[in-house]
């Protein structure tokens, strides 16, 4: 990853094609993997991918970590707050849902409520 301090130049321009390659491959991979997710799990899929886009926290940390004036500090910290809520909430709520999906029990042991 590029450091917050070094930017510009032919290097980066050249790396564009490489990044684009990664993007295109990732899209194809995503379509493959996600088309195998059963309809039953589409809500957890959505909240799970929700958690995954929380990866913007990495970007938020970079800008907050390199912030050097009030403006960049405020923007950075707000981005960190939003992204953290996204990450933690996304994974926790997905787990809550997934733990509810159970197979039929080998023959009930409880007949509560």
């Amino acid at each position: 990853m590029r450091l917050p301090t070094d930017r510009g130049g032919a290097d980066i321009e050249a790396s564009f094609v490489l990044e684009l390659t990664i993007l295109v491959l990732a899209i194809f991979l995503g379509v493959e993997v996600i088309s195998k997710v059963p309809t039953m799990l589409h809500t957890p899929l959505m909240s799970g991918t929700n958690a995954i886009h929380g990866i913007v926290i990495v970007g938020a940390i970079v800008i907050a970590g390199a912030a050097d004036d009030t403006f960049t500090k405020v923007v950075g910290v707000v981005a960190v707050v939003l992204a953290s809520a996204n990450v933690v909430g996304g994974f926790v709520v997905t787990d809550r849902m997934l733990q509810m999906f159970k197979r039929r029990e080998p023959r009930r042991e409880s007949n509560d409520d």
Binding site: M1, I34, G59, A60, V80
Partner: protein
């Protein structure tokens, strides 16, 4: 930490995300997959914090604690019926974070950005902002803070076109090397307004499509941010989310037999209420029945297919339905649940609601799997579902829902429809099914009716 090490460790994170999605192919391992993904996320966070040139640790820590706490409390407290709002909110904050990152990058480096970086900055700011404000409106609609009905006014399309046009011009300006700060502010404001304007005219019933679409947007915004920061993990993770959101959007559109353009820009204002004049009064009448009669029917059936709709969740009757199903199974009845793709307020919502009520997932059958089973079913028990059971979708070319895939409820030997009243469903049209000679109606609140059914089945 060197750049190579950082990138190598990010690759590990990428692998965990892909594994998390792969494990979702079966409910058996899905939970494990989620934690693998979470571990990968944690790794990425630690790696980023350890990177050279990162300071302001106290500031970052405060942000993480505050955001994390909010996310945790929200995720723990949210009711399963409110999951669509929750997902909308997370889409929104993710998009918002992406937009802020672009704002910051532009603020610091405007003029020194390469064309690709400048373009990506503009895209990330645009998509992230639309996703942020659009998701907040979707949240407000689902949470019923504002009316769930489409909000429309004259010239709306033109106003929207002007707003997005403004955003596009500013975006191109930035991409072309414009370095005035006003450009990015203008872009973000226009995009925020557009997000609001684009979700307002979309009705509550179409929310599954909108949420899926906003999910895809946030993924794309994250990907664009990856191009700004030259960060592979952002590019890949964003692409995965984008692919998922796009697939779900298309799936929802298909399940409602509507094109995405139609959902976003179409139908509102021109939903023809087909009832009344168009209705053919051929003397067929609706037959009402009692809980006792239905109980006998169910008890002596070999196979019962339960068709739950959102009405079931509104009545909070999931647990009672599960109890009824268990009671019937004890009597030797084969019971399965037929789940239409748009049952609920987001893709797969009904499955989660039933899983929460301890319905085992092997009893939950999706449309294509269960439709061939209806002819063998003695009773189809429709609870709070309407349009997804309307045979007009198969036969009546003039019907607004013509062509929409439906559950073949009418092929069962007999049909019991549990319904509050004769009010039509979302599409605002009459349901042929109710006039079918094999159909009987059990009127009343779903929860009350099921509780009555349970005691009647116990007695029979």
């Amino acid at each position: 930490m060197s750049r190579t090490t950082t990138d190598a460790l990010y690759l590990v994170t990428i692998v965990t995300f892909i594994l998390a999605l792969r494990f979702l192919s079966s409910p058996k391992h899905a939970r494990k997959g989620n934690w693998i993904g979470a571990a990968g996320m944690l790794l990425a966070i630690v790696v980023t914090l350890a990177q050279d040139g990162i300071g302001n640790y106290a500031l970052i820590a405060i942000g993480m604690v505050v955001g994390g706490a909010v996310g945790l409390i929200g995720a723990r407290r949210v009711k399963m019926t409110a999951m669509p709002q929750m997902v909308a909110l997370f889409n929104g904050v993710g998009g918002g974070a992406a937009a802020l990152i672009s704002l910051d990058e532009f603020h610091r480096f405007a003029g020194g950005l390469t064309t690709v970086e400048a373009t990506s900055t503009a895209l990330s700011a645009l998509i992230g902002s639309v996703s942020f404000s659009g998701s907040l409106v979707a949240f407000a609609k689902l949470q019923e803070l504002i009316s769930g009905r489409p909000i429309v006014f004259r010239g709306q399309q033109i106003v929207n076109a002007l707003i997005i046009g403004t955003a596009a011009v500013l975006g191109v300006w930035i991409a072309a090397g414009g370095d005035r700060q006003g450009l990015i502010y203008g872009l973000i404001v226009a995009a925020l307004v557009f997000g609001v304007m684009f979700v307002l005219p979309i009705g509550g019933a179409d929310m599954p499509v909108v949420i899926s679409l906003l999910n895809a947007f946030t993924g794309l915004a994250a990907s664009a941010t990856g191009f700004v920061l030259h960060n592979n993990v952002l590019i890949v993770a964003g692409a995965l989310v984008g692919a998922s959101g796009t697939l779900l959007t298309m799936l929802m559109g298909k399940a409602m037999n509507r094109s995405i353009t139609n959902v976003l820009f179409g139908a509102f204002g021109q939903v023809q209420v087909g009832s009344g004049a168009a209705r053919v009064d051929d003397g067929r009448t609706v037959r009402a029945t009692s809980a006792d009669d239905v109980a006998v029917m169910l008890s002596f059936a070999r196979k019962v297919i339960i068709v739950p709709g959102y009405g079931l969740a509104v009545a909070q009757a999931q647990h009672d339905v599960r109890q009824l199903a268990e009671l019937l199974e004890e009597k030797g009845v084969d019971v399965v649940y037929a789940i239409h793709p748009v049952a609920g307020r987001m893709p797969g919502h009904m499955n989660v609601l039933l899983a929460e009520a301890n319905v085992p997932y092997d009893q939950l059958k999706e449309m294509d799997e269960v439709n061939p089973e209806f002819p063998q079913a003695d009773v189809a028990l429709v609870i709070g579902a309407n349009d997804v059971t309307n045979p007009a979708a198969r036969t009546d070319t003039s019907s607004p829902i013509y062509g929409m895939p439906i559950l073949d409820v009418d092929k069962a030997a007999s049909v019991v429809v549990m319904k509050r009243s004769m009010a039509p469903g979302f599409a605002g049209i009459d349901n042929e099914l109710y006039l079918d000679p094999r159909t009987t109606m059990l009127f009343g609140d779903a929860k009350d009716s099921i509780v009555k059914l349970i005691s009647a089945v116990k007695a029979s």
